[in-house]
C-alpha cells in the first residue's frame, strides 16, 4: 500500500516538475506519457526486461561470488593483495567501449560477455567492502584465536569472515543497486537485446517516451533486487541489531 502511495506521489511530483520547468517531452517525458507507452508496448518491454533481468541476476550472482572470493584472497595473502588489488581498483576505471571488443573476442556475442561485463561493475563494491570488513576484525577475537593455535585459514574463515558479514552485506546492497546499470553496460558488449539496448536505440532516434518506459522498468528491476537483497542480508546477520525499519 505504502510503496504504491509513494510511487504515485513521486509520479505526481515529476509530472509537476515537467509542467513547471517546461522540459520538452523529447528530453524528459511526463509520467502520463510514459504510462501510456508502458500500457501500449508492454510486450516489447517485457521481452527486453527478461533479457536484462537475466543478465542482471547472473551478473549479480557472479559479482557476489567473485567479489567475496577475491576479498578473502586479499585478506589471506599479502602477496596477492599487492599484485591484484591495484588491478581490481584499476578495473573500475575501464570504460566498456575499451574492453567490449576484447570480451566479444574471448566470449563471443552471446550472454556470457554481457554477464562478465556486468559482473565487472557489480563485483567491486563487494570486494572492497568485504575486504574492508575483513581487515578490521576485533583484536580480542584475533588474540583469542591466536592463543588457540588457530591456523590463519581457520581464523580467516571462522572468525574474520563471519565478523565481516555486516560489511559484506553493505557491499552486496551497493552491488544490488548497481546491478541494473551493470547489465545495461553489459548490453553494450556483443549483440543487441535488453532494456539498455532498447533505450540507446530509441534515444538515438528521438523516441524518448519508449526509452523512458524502458528506464522505468529498469529502475523497478533495481529497486526490486535491492529490496530482496536487503531482506535476505538481514537474515544473514541475525546477531546484529538494526535500527530503523
Amino acid at each position: 500500500m505504502r510503496p504504491l502511495l509513494t510511487a504515485l506521489g513521486l509520479a505526481a511530483a515529476w509530472e509537476l516538475l515537467v509542467w513547471l520547468t517546461g522540459v520538452p517531452s523529447y528530453i524528459l517525458p511526463p509520467p502520463s506519457r510514459i504510462a501510456a507507452v508502458l500500457a501500449d508496448r508492454w510486450d516489447l518491454l517485457l521481452d527486453q526486461a527478461l533479457w536484462t533481468g537475466a543478465e542482471m541476476l547472473m551478473g549479480f550472482a557472479l559479482g557476489l561470488v567473485l567479489g567475496a572470493a577475491l576479498a578473502i584472497v586479499f585478506a589471506a595473502s599479502a602477496g596477492w593483495r599487492r599484485w591484484a588489488l591495484p588491478l581490481v581498483i584499476a578495473s573500475q576505471a575501464v570504460p566498456v567501449i575499451a574492453v567490449a571488443p576484447l570480451l566479444v573476442l574471448w566470449l563471443g556475442y552471446g550472454m556470457a560477455s554481457k554477464v562478465v561485463m556486468a559482473a565487472l561493475v557489480i563485483f567491486f563494491p563487494v570486494v572492497s567492502s568485504l575486504y574492508d570488513g575483513l581487515r578490521r576484525t576485533d583484536e580480542g577475537w584475533l588474540e583469542l584465536a591466536h592463543t588457540m593455535d588457530a591456523p590463519p585459514r581457520a581464523i580467516l574463515l571462522q572468525i574474520r569472515l563471519p565478523a565481516a558479514l555486516p560489511a559484506f552485506a553493505s557491499g552486496a546492497r551497493i552491488a544490488a543497486a548497481v546491478a541494473p546499470i551493470g547489465a545495461v553496460i553489459g548490453e553494450w558488449v556483443g549483440a543487441s537485446a535488453g532494456l539498455g539496448y532498447l533505450m540507446t536505440q530509441q534515444l538515438a532516434r528521438g523516441q524518448t517516451p519508449l526509452a523512458f518506459a524502458a528506464l522505468f522498468v529498469l529502475c523497478l528491476l533495481g529497486i526490486g533486487l535491492y529490496a530482496v537483497t536487503d531482506r535476505v542480508l538481514r537474515r544473514l546477520v541475525p546477531w546484529q541489531s538494526f535500527q530503523g525499519d
Binding site: 567490449a100 571488443p101 573476442l105 553494450w188 540507446t200 538515438a204 532516434r205 528521438g206 523516441q207 524518448t208
Partner: protein, 291 residues
C-alpha cells in the same frame, strides 16, 4: 549452406533494409548462405572484430575503413550498401542560420565517428570559415535532441534519411547541407568489409548477389518491404523507421558489388590532407573487387 556472421554497424534500421529483407525473404538461403545478422551497440567495434576473425563480414563506413586500413587493420571492402554519403550538417529551419557561414561563433554537435572534424572542417572552409570559428561539442547519439532543445545550433553526422524525419515527428523542421556539396569528396556511406587474408570470393559473390536481389525486390515493393521489415523485431516498428524507410529505399545501392576506385583515391587524399591519416595505404590493400 555456408554459415556467415555479418556484423551490422549499429542497431538495425532501414539502412540495413537489403540485409534484413534478404534474410526475411530467404534470399540468403537461396544463395546458399545462412546469415546471422548481429547488431552491436558500438559502431567502431564491428570492423575490428572482423579483422580479428570474430565474424566474416561487417557493415562499416568508407572513411572508417580508410582510417583503420591506415592503422594497419587487415580489412578489405567487398561491397557497398549505400553508395553515397548520408552524412549532413543540419540546423533548425526556424533558427537564424541560413548558410554555413552563419555558423560563425556557434556550437555544432556531433556524435563521435572519428572523422567529424575533417568533414566539418572542409564544409566550413567551403564557406570561408574554419573549425576555429565554431565550438564542437560531442553530444553522442542525441543529435536531434541537442538540436531541438537548442543546446547546439547545428549538428554534423546527421543522416539525411533519418534526422529530418526525426525532427519532423517532433514538430520541428530542419535545414540541411549535404557534405558532398560543400567541399567533401563523395564517398560510400555504408560498405561491407571482410578480413583481407580470409575473404572467400565465391561466398562473397553469392552474398552480394543476394543483397542485390533483395534491393531490387524492395525497390519494386517498398510498402510490402516495410511491412516485412517491421516484423523483424517489435522494437523496429515505429513511426520514424517508417518515414525513414521511404527515404532510404531509393538510396540503396543497386549493384552492391560495384567499386569506384577513384572515389577511394580522392577520399584518401582528403583524409591525408585533413591530417586524419599520415599516409594513405595502397588502394589494393583494402579494396577487393569481387566482380
Amino acid at each position: 549452406q555456408d554459415k556467415v556472421r555479418l556484423l551490422l554497424d549499429w542497431f538495425v534500421n532501414p539502412d540495413h533494409a537489403a540485409l534484413v529483407i534478404a534474410k526475411q525473404r530467404g534470399i540468403f538461403t537461396k544463395h546458399g548462405l545462412e546469415v546471422e545478422l548481429i547488431a552491436p551497440a558500438d559502431p567502431n567495434a564491428p570492423p575490428k572484430l572482423v579483422a580479428a576473425g570474430q565474424a566474416e563480414y561487417a557493415v562499416s563506413y568508407q572513411p572508417t575503413l580508410q582510417m583503420l586500413a591506415a592503422e594497419g587493420l587487415p580489412l578489405v571492402r567487398v561491397g557497398v550498401l549505400v553508395g553515397q554519403p548520408l552524412n549532413s550538417l543540419v540546423a533548425l529551419e526556424e533558427s537564424t542560420i541560413k548558410t554555413i557561414a552563419d555558423f560563425k561563433g556557434r556550437k555544432i554537435g556531433y556524435s563521435v565517428s572519428g572523422f567529424e572534424e575533417a568533414v566539418l572542417g572542409a564544409m566550413l572552409e567551403s564557406a570561408g570559415l574554419s573549425l576555429k570559428d565554431v565550438t564542437l561539442v560531442n553530444v553522442n547519439f542525441a543529435l536531434t535532441t541537442a538540436l531541438m532543445s537548442k543546446q547546439v545550433d547545428g549538428v554534423i553526422g546527421a543522416f539525411r534519411n533519418f534526422e529530418l524525419n526525426d525532427l519532423e515527428i517532433n514538430k520541428a523542421k530542419g535545414r540541411l547541407w549535404l557534405v558532398e556539396k560543400h567541399g567533401v569528396p563523395t564517398y560510400d556511406e555504408l560498405i561491407l568489409v571482410a578480413k583481407r587474408e580470409t575473404v572467400d570470393v565465391g561466398r562473397t559473390k553469392r552474398l552480394l548477389a543476394a543483397i542485390a536481389e533483395a534491393t531490387a525486390w524492395i525497390k519494386a515493393n517498398p510498402a510490402e518491404g516495410w511491412a516485412l521489415f517491421a516484423k523483424y523485431g517489435k522494437e523496429f516498428d515505429n513511426e520514424l523507421n517508417k518515414l525513414a524507410w521511404k527515404d532510404t529505399v531509393p538510396l540503396l545501392a543497386d549493384a552492391p558489388a560495384s567499386l569506384d576506385r577513384a572515389r577511394y583515391e580522392a577520399f584518401a587524399t582528403f583524409l591525408t590532407k585533413r591530417g586524419l591519416i599520415k599516409q594513405a595505404p595502397p588502394l589494393d590493400s583494402y579494396l577487393r573487387d569481387i566482380n
